[in-house]
Structures are given as structure tokens and as C-alpha cells.
Symmetry: C2
Subunit: 135 residues, 2 copies
């Protein structure tokens, strides 16, 4: 192999290594939470509408809100789970101060019967298309 | 506006409507499950390695496995949650018969102390980049 080819290969290798390290650092910083909520059944439709609005705005507007997945238990539709991924702690704290999040908190205050938050560590996060800063 | 421009606009509108309808149909068919597992603490590292291998293979090989997110509770690291999205019921059933899934089931049989599966309905699924067939 020529000297220039070897040098080029080394540069490509270093760049790849750099990207991998950066991706790993982002994974490490990611804040992943699971929120479990019990909702007043009489207000379930209103609650869902408020949650949908808040999730749509958060992922669209906030750079550091990577994904928000909200689902309802088929057997107990008032039991809601939200799987949340933020780029880092700063992004999570900033999210709590946004107008759309504060509006959601105020609107749903009397709809939420209980809220349990679980902080988690990732084991594997794989999706068909890579999320920004994750995978 | 010219007649041709109006016609062009109508065609673009119809195509957009078609795509939206298709996306909605895919959302409706998606199978979204949450698996909660308690793992034997003495075998936690081995379990995590087996789960990582299974998740990596499933999302890479299977067209209908859209995302698999596995996390551990920070307070109870043996408590694991997997948030699973499949394109439809057929994709989910096919997944259960794949060699990598069967290998995972056999390997981890004596590591898993309990397994609870929750079938869910989506309320909102938003991510920075769209998952294939979802959003």
C-alpha cells in the first residue's frame, strides 16, 4: 500500500472513531424516563387531547426532546405510560419550563389521579431509523 | 390562478391525503407492547448481553420490528422494561419464530424471575426522526 493511501485510511479511521465516541457520549448523557399515570376516567378524553398537544409541541419545538411515546393499557385504558427520551439533563430541565409543558401541567392537574416517575439506564435502544443523538 | 395550476394543486393535495391515510392505517395496525421483567441479580450481566444481541438482530433483520427500547430502573437495576413497536400483528407473530428470538428465550430461561406483558393502544408516538410506518 502506498504511503498516501495508508495516511488516508488512518484519517478515515480517526474520523470514524471520533463519530463513534461522540455517539457514545450522547447515549451516556441521554435522560430516559418512564412516567406511569392513572387518569380520572370521566376526564380521559380531555386528558389524552392535552397530552397529545403537549407531546406534539415538545418534539417539534424542543431540540433536546428526542422522543415521547404515550400509550394506554388495553385492559385498563386509564393507565397511561409515557416513554421519554431527552438528549441530556439540561434538555430535560429546559423542557419543564416551556409554555406548552406548563400549560399541560395546569390543564391536567385535576385529571391525573397519580403519577409515578422512573429514571432508567439504557440497555439497548434500537429503531428502524436512528433517532438524532441516540443509537 | 390558471386552470393547470389549480389542477396541479389538486393532484398534490390528493397525493398528500393518500399518504396521510396510509400512515394512519399503519398506526392503527401497529402492535405496541410493554414487557416488564425481573432478572436474577447474579445473572444480570449475562441477561443484558443476551437481550442486546436479540434486540440488535431483530431490528436489523426483521422488516416489521420497528423499535425495541430496553431500559433498567436506576433504583432497581434488575427491573427491566422493554418498549416494543411492531408494524402489525403478523410481524409480531413472525418475530416470535425467528432464530434470534428463540435463542434469546432459551438462553435467558433461567435468568428471568418474572415477565409481565402489557398490550397497549397508542395515544401519541413522536420522535425527532420518523420511524418507518409510525408517526
Amino acid at each position: 500500500m502506498k504511503k498516501t493511501s495508508k495516511l488516508l485510511l488512518l484519517i478515515v479511521f480517526m474520523i470514524t472513531l471520533g463519530f463513534t465516541k461522540k455517539a457514545q457520549a450522547q447515549d451516556k448523557n441521554a435522560v430516559i424516563r418512564i412516567a406511569k399515570l392513572y387518569i380520572d376516567s370521566a376526564q380521559l378524553d380531555n386528558y389524552k387531547a392535552a397530552l397529545q398537544e403537549e407531546i406534539e409541541a415538545s418534539v417539534r419545538i424542543e431540540k433536546g426532546v428526542l422522543s415521547l411515546y404515550a400509550v394506554a393499557d388495553k385492559k385498563n385504558p386509564t393507565h397511561i405510560t409515557v416513554f421519554e427520551i431527552y438528549a441530556n439533563q439540561e434538555a430535560y430541565l429546559a423542557h419543564l419550563k416551556t409554555p406548552h409543558f406548563l400549560k399541560y401541567k395546569t390543564t391536567t392537574k385535576d385529571m391525573v389521579k397519580s403519577l409515578e416517575l422512573m429514571e432508567t439506564n439504557p440497555i439497548a435502544l434500537k429503531a428502524k431509523r436512528k433517532l438524532k443523538g441516540i443509537n
